[in-house]
């Protein structure tokens, strides 16, 4: 089977991202410099989505979201927790741009596109780290996604929200860990801790739109990723080995009934309010 396991990645002596890049180029025949260049461009697009999303209050297609990122960003920091607020606002900024049908970078999916930029750009801006240092952590984030997708499809319809937001949080956690000097082992354990604590989340979007709860969920899981990185950088590890955690999530995904896998037939989607919104938007109800 193609690809690599988290166990292999964990054992890398040098920077985990460099190993991922070498591995990828060996498999696809791509030029490492070209991959770095494309990642740099995508980082720039993430940055543009954050900027646009923080400034905008334009409503999404259904009108369920569109003011959350701006609202948080312009509110007082009552907790005196600037990192927390920045990470949350960045994550929602990207997902609200997505809900407006603007151009975004899927990471790994569009519904979870805010988590990686929220955590990585949020932490970098908080600490005053320039964008060039974020390019290779972004490659590592992608590598974590590759290792996860070896065992399960990364989509809400195949595995529930855990497969999407759990993967994005794991990817973001590893990226932040590497950015702050963590070893390959620490990066993989950051990803694993994020994943292990996402197991069981269902995909129940109201009306089938990537808006509620998706936008706020990216705020929550970008913080989740930073939390995982903080534990791993202090050398805390997942008790269950990384690949076994991925396997556990994949098995839970298979146990989830179809109603909770992006069909809009359960959970928040079938609350009275969820059903009313769905009927209104589809124009086949009152």
């Amino acid at each position: 089977m193609a690809g690599f396991t988290l166990r292999e990645l964990e054992a890398v002596p040098g920077r985990a991202s460099e190993w991922v890049l070498e591995h990828d180029c060996a498999e696809t025949g791509a030029d490492p410099e070209a991959i770095r260049r494309t990642m740099r461009e995508r980082l720039g697009l993430m940055r543009a989505s954050v900027t646009a999303g923080l400034a905008s209050t334009e409503k999404s297609l259904t009108g369920m979201v569109g003011w959350n990122a701006h609202g948080l960003w312009s509110a007082a920091d009552v907790l005196n927790a600037p990192l927390l607020r920045r990470v949350q606002a960045y994550a929602m900024a990207v997902n609200e741009e997505n809900a407006r049908m603007r151009r975004i970078v899927a990471a790994p999916t569009a519904g979870s596109a805010g988590t990686v930029p929220g955590a990585l750009l949020g932490v970098a801006d908080h600490l005053g780290i320039g964008d060039e240092a974020l390019v290779m952590p972004l490659v590592l984030a992608a590598g974590i996604g590759q290792a996860i997708s070896r065992q399960m499809h990364i989509s809400g319809s195949a595995g529930g929200c855990q497969a999407e937001i759990g993967s994005s949080a794991a990817m973001a956690a590893a990226a932040v860990t590497e950015l702050l000097g963590g070893s390959a082992r620490a990066c993989v354990h950051a990803a694993t801790l994020a994943l292990a604590n996402s197991i069981g989340l269902v995909c129940d979007p109201v009306g089938g739109f990537v808006e509620v709860p998706c936008v706020s969920r990216n705020a929550f899981f970008s913080v989740h990723a930073v939390c995982a990185a903080q534990l791993a950088l202090a050398r805390l590890e997942s008790f269950i080995p990384p690949d076994e955690v991925v396997g556990a999530m994949a098995s839970v995904g298979r146990m989830l009934p179809p109603e909770l896998r992006e069909t809009g037939e359960g959970g928040l989607a079938t609350t009275p309010t969820g059903l009313a919104v769905t009927a209104r938007v589809r124009g086949d109800g009152s």
Binding site: E27, L61, A106, A107, P108, G143, V210
Partner: protein
């Protein structure tokens, strides 16, 4: 699957499975028809049927059929673009069998050609084409893909792979299937590079080969 599939694609929102993946299935189906589609009968299956309109799947599929890529800014207006381009659309929902929940059947007509393609969007914008004209296939469009529709006879695969070898192109993956013994077959060769025009013409001339398509990769845009 490259790292650029995980941090990427660059796409128009709101859903990688329902927008980017759907657009790529449309693009691949257009390439398989090998013509500008004039009519498309679209059957949505599973989650595509339940939530497809909410996720913009309808617009994305049509955008792909019109040749747009997932990051094309015109994607949200694809239904109006189709009307301008003279592409007639008909929609239905149906159970296409034991497929991934995000699946669709596209029956296309254009320039006197007809083809029916079934594809699945399996996550993060990654897609699989699983059926062409009733014959099971399996490829994702990540590589250059050579498709050959042919009569089911001994040595068919060997004659084609001989031409590919003579063109000095490496085969990354190969699959083949048929509707029944001695019936219609489709072979699918995923290649590390595009086959030359001469080689394609040579394959088309081999006795028993019904059609040949060289599909470009659809996973590396953005």
């Amino acid at each position: 699957m490259s790292v650029l599939d995980m941090i990427g694609p660059v796409m128009i929102g709101p859903s990688s499975s329902h927008t980017a993946g759907a657009c790529r299935i449309g693009l691949l189906a257009r390439a398989i028809l090998d013509a500008t589609p004039e009519k498309a009968a679209i059957t949505l299956h599973g989650s595509f049927a339940k939530t497809g309109r909410g996720h913009g799947t309808d617009r994305a599929l049509v955008a792909g059929l019109l040749g747009m890529k997932p990051d094309d800014g015109r994607l949200p207006d694809a239904l109006a673009e189709a009307e301008r381009a003279g592409l007639a659309l008909s929609w239905s929902e149906g159970n296409l069998g034991n497929l991934h929940p995000n699946s669709v059947r596209l029956a296309l007509d254009g320039e006197g050609r007809h083809t029916t393609v079934v594809g699945s969007s399996i996550g993060g914008g990654v897609v699989e084409i699983v059926e062409i004209d009733g014959v099971g296939v399996r490829f994702g469009g990540a590589r250059h893909t050579l498709l050959v529709g042919h009569e089911d006879f001994y040595g068919a695969i060997a004659t084609v792979t001989r031409v590919v070898a003579d063109d000095r192109v490496n085969i990354a993956a190969l699959s083949s299937n048929r509707d029944r013994r001695g019936g219609e077959a489709v072979m699918c060769l995923e290649l590390d590079a595009r086959l030359s025009g001469e080689a394609l013409a040579w394959i088309a001339r081999i006795h028993g080969m019904n059609w040949v398509r060289m599909l470009p990769p659809v996973m590396d845009e953005g």
